[in-house]
């Protein structure tokens, strides 16, 4: 860097300095009535580009802050929107469960399904209620829309339910107000929780599509009238002997978040009216 080498403070420099100093003192001493108009005139003329540039830069900063704030709000809303369907579904399930509880009246234990990430989730379900809460081995597990399964094992504060989609699960079923009986099991080879089959229906009986299938109450485990599913069509026929029907399940194990475990004391009851299906003639919810 090169700096001038012949620099010194001459009289002229000092004179200019003194003049500038005096002028600034005069500016300081100006009355407000003069000071403000001069400042205003400077802002409107010489400083106009500077003031404009500053204003634009400040606007740019505010806009950037606005964008950041908007982005944060958008992210929050996106997160809330992403959670909303799940919350609504869970709410709907809980409300339905409350209604079911009111209709059942007694003899049940509420439990939460603790879904696991394993491949077998949907075949067996871990429930948040156990022996201490009144859960019994083989007790029926129901959701607001129908049968989910039965208790497979019980611990003190948790239990494992075998869902209807489990290959070993069977339940005696009936249609048409208890006139036709069969056995319901998961449809082998299908994805868990998708379809079930109703076997053992006499060849002479024909079930139209959409016919509701409920538990028959036989076997001393499942009360009568719990919805299992609806008929989707004939799966296969053994000529002259029986028909097997494909059923659309009333409950999808993987989608259930809250359930009720019924007491085995209610095995002899008829619960058709407790569920959101049309009651069969003569069915009624027993009084406690």
């Amino acid at each position: 860097m090169t700096i001038g080498t012949e620099r010194y403070g001459s009289r002229a420099d000092t004179a200019v300095f003194v003049v500038c100093l005096v002028l600034s003192v005069v500016a300081l001493a100006l009355p407000e009535g003069l000071r403000l108009p001069i400042a205003s005139a400077l802002r409107r003329t010489v400083l106009l580009p500077v003031v404009t540039a500053e204003r634009q830069a400040a606007q740019s900063r505010e806009e950037r802050q606005d964008v950041l704030a908007l982005r944060a709000q958008r992210d929050s809303l996106a997160l809330a929107a992403a959670l909303l369907p799940d919350l609504r579904a869970e709410n709907a399930q809980l409300r339905a469960l409350l209604r079911l509880g009111g209709r059942l009246g007694y003899g049940y234990v509420g439990a939460e399904v603790l879904h696991q990430t394993g491949l077998t989730d949907g075949l067996t379900l871990l429930l948040s209620a156990g022996r201490r809460e009144g859960v019994e081995l083989l007790a029926p597990v129901v959701a607001p829309t129908g049968l989910l399964g039965a208790i497979l094992s019980v611990d003190a504060h948790s239990s494992v339910a075998m869902a209807w989609s489990h290959p070993d699960f069977r339940v005696s079923a009936t249609v048409e107000g208890g006139r036709i009986f069969g056995i319901v099991a998961a449809r082998r080879g299908e994805a868990a929780g998708e379809v079930m089959e109703l076997t053992g229906i006499a060849y002479r009986e024909t079930l139209p599509v959409g016919t509701p299938v409920v538990t028959s109450g036989l076997g001393g485990i499942f009360p009568r009238g719990i919805p299992i599913g609806t008929v989707q069509g004939v799966l296969r026929e053994t000529a002259g002997w029986e028909r097997t029907y494909l059923l659309k399940p009333a409950v999808h194990p993987a989608q259930v978040s809250h359930v009720m475990v019924l007491s085995l004391d209610r095995a002899a009851d008829t619960l058709t009216a407790a569920f959101d299906t049309l009651p069969a003639p003569g069915d009624s919810v027993p009084k406690p």
Binding site: D13, L21, L23, S24, A27, L28, L47, A53, E54, A58
Partner: protein
């Protein structure tokens, strides 16, 4: 009249610093420690010219900055006149020219400007005065000196010219 290229570069560098001051500073959150690039430009000019040029430039810059805050109209002009003159005079006396000396002069000029301006405007008292002159002003002077150092490094080739006296 033909202006030598070196001098044009110097003027361009000073204009660039002033422009950056008014374009960059408002883009960031207001801070009392933000570097004052106009002061840096003034000092760069003052130490490359006669003290009188520094005084006049300081007076003009100060008056314009006072116009933005007319409550203390004249205080900035008063302070920067002294600072501009002193920078030119001090450079003639010290004569050493390296980055640190330049940064040191900017630091001292910034702090001195604040002291003079606060004294001339007579707006602060007691603790606020102490906080301003002993904490905020040195911190701002430090950031201004750092900015001057960066400017010297970046614009080294543009700041070699010696304007005519």
């Amino acid at each position: 009249m033909r202006v030598p290229p070196d001098r044009l570069k110097l003027i361009a560098a000073l204009v660039l610093l002033v422009a950056l001051h008014f374009v960059l500073r408002p883009r960031f959150a207001p801070s009392p420690f933000a570097p004052d690039l106009v002061l840096v430009a003034l000092i760069f000019l003052a130490i490359r010219t006669r003290p009188a040029v520094g005084a006049v430039a300081g007076f003009v810059v100060g008056l314009l900055s006072d116009a933005v805050s007319p409550t203390t109209f004249g205080a900035g002009a008063f302070a920067l006149t002294i600072v501009g003159f002193a920078a030119g005079w001090l450079k003639a006396v010290v004569f050493a020219d390296n980055l640190l000396v330049n940064a040191l002069i900017v630091f001292a000029a910034s702090w001195l400007r604040d002291i003079l301006q606060v004294a001339a405007s007579n707006q602060l008292r007691g603790g606020a005065l102490g906080l301003q002159l002993l904490v905020l002003s040195p911190a701002a002077a430090l950031s201004t000196a750092a900015a001057a150092l960066v400017a010297l490094l970046l614009l080294r080739g543009w700041l070699t010219a010696v304007p005519s006296r």
